[in-house]
């Protein structure tokens, strides 16, 4: 849930322009890779109006893992070192990595993530800001709920982080969030790479000196 101590951090220009372009190219799914996107994944398991989206489950599918592990590990490790994940977020590695995608006409539902910290890398440097497709964060809704049984209704938006290529968003996994719709002028697939992370020491970020003074 969103509190005064919640983390929503945005890092731009994560990689040099050339490397960012290479990452975008490498993550484009072309025929020669032999693998692609599967449809039907949802952010809310129990919502009857759920909106499925596209996914490449890198961690859970051995074939995907063979193809994408190199890319995802390389990106994660470079970011970890550059942005000092351990000191900032008490995160040393990820537990799960996947890619999500959606096109115009699909509006993924608002949800919370599993894990403790979620990291979303936006690889498309060719993406235009006016196409939308950012990530929005919402205030906590009152009422009883569990992680598995939550259907958000009237939520106030806290902030939107626009989709800008070569940008990383890091946030507490229990903050309500969702991918924004895509503008009708956009004919492309909006993709993100997502790492689900746990704190290194198994407890929490609030034990770290980095956050002691906040």
């Amino acid at each position: 849930m969103l509190t005064n101590d919640s983390v929503i951090e945005v890092f731009d220009d994560c990689f040099s322009v050339d490397i960012a372009k290479t990452i975008e190219r490498n993550l484009e799914i072309k025929d020669h890779l032999g693998y692609g996107w599967t449809y039907g994944h949802t952010a809310q398991k129990d919502n009857p109006d759920k909106q499925p989206f596209w996914m490449i489950d890198i961690s859970s599918n051995p074939e995907h893992y063979k193809v994408f592990q190199g890319y995802s590990d390389e990106i994660f490790n470079a970011l970890k070192e550059k942005l000092n994940f351990l000191e900032r977020f008490n995160v040393e590695s990820y537990q799960r990595v996947y890619m999500n995608g959606h096109t115009y006409g699909q509006v993924p539902n608002v949800h919370r993530d599993d894990g403790q910290i979620t990291m979303i890398y936006q690889p498309k440097v060719t993406w235009k800001r006016e196409w939308g497709g950012g990530t929005s964060f919402y205030y906590q809704e009152s009422g009883e709920e569990t992680h598995e049984h939550f259907t958000p209704k009237a939520l106030d938006k806290y902030k939107t982080v626009d989709y800008i290529g070569n940008r990383l968003i890091v946030f507490d996994a229990d903050i309500l969030h969702g991918a924004d719709p895509i503008d009708r002028q956009c004919y492309n697939l909006r993709t993100v790479m997502v790492w689900k992370c746990f704190f290194k020491d198994g407890t929490g970020r609030d034990r770290l000196d980095y956050y002691a003074g906040r």
Binding site: I29, T38, P52, W54, T103, Y104, Q106
Partner: protein, 191 residues
């Protein structure tokens, strides 16, 4: 005199259990969003290339699609009707609400489109329209699971948009064919 209409529609192409198997298999497929229905126009749709012949199809792991062809060819006598005994390319297309493939013509002699989704509802639309040369609707073939439509490949046609009420992926299996005698005059009467 040819034995086919401009657009032929065949229902119950596969036995029910085979149709169910194909439907289930397609739901597990991995797609690429890199295919234009009309080059130079903006809309793309989801696509899977499955092979040019049986050998390549088996190699690429799509042999479970072959019963569609075998069943339809035998049951509806494609050899006699279209002078077609095999296909030259097999692929799958898909789109969701918000993606609208363009009007286009195909290569080959006859295009045969199979609808695999048995749970598809008529109100979701997503059928295929074949147009005449004056751009009037020649025939609108609704999406219905286990249905196959066949028409001369040069005819303008278009996969129809999917309703906003539909959250599902509209999939189809496409067989591109060439007539056995390779005589284009057979098709000229329909141009």
């Amino acid at each position: 005199m040819m034995g086919y209409q401009l657009v032929d529609v065949y229902d119950d192409v596969c036995e029910t259990h085979v149709a169910e198997l194909i439907d289930n298999q397609i739901r597990q497929c991995e797609w690429k969003f890199d295919y234009h229905s009309h080059s130079g126009k903006p809309n793309k749709h989801w696509h899977i290339f499955c092979g040019h012949d049986e050998e390549e199809i088996k190699k690429l792991g799509y042999d479970w699609l072959l019963p569609i062809w075998e069943s339809a060819k035998r049951k509806f006598d494609f050899e006699e009707k279209y002078k077609v005994d095999s296909f030259v390319r097999l692929y799958m297309n898909a789109h969701t609400h918000g993606i609208e493939p363009h009007i286009h013509r195909d290569d080959g002699d006859f295009t045969m489109i199979y609808y695999p989704r048995l749970d598809w509802k008529p109100e979701w639309n997503g059928g295929t329209v074949v147009y005449d040369e004056q751009d009037e609707v020649e025939r609108h073939v609704m999406y219905k699971g286990n249905r196959l439509m066949a028409f001369p490949a040069h005819c303008k046609h278009q996969a129809m948009p999917v309703s906003r009420q539909c959250f599902q992926l509209r999939t189809c299996v496409v067989f591109k064919t060439k007539v056995m005698d390779a005589n284009p005059e057979r098709l000229n009467a329909y141009k």
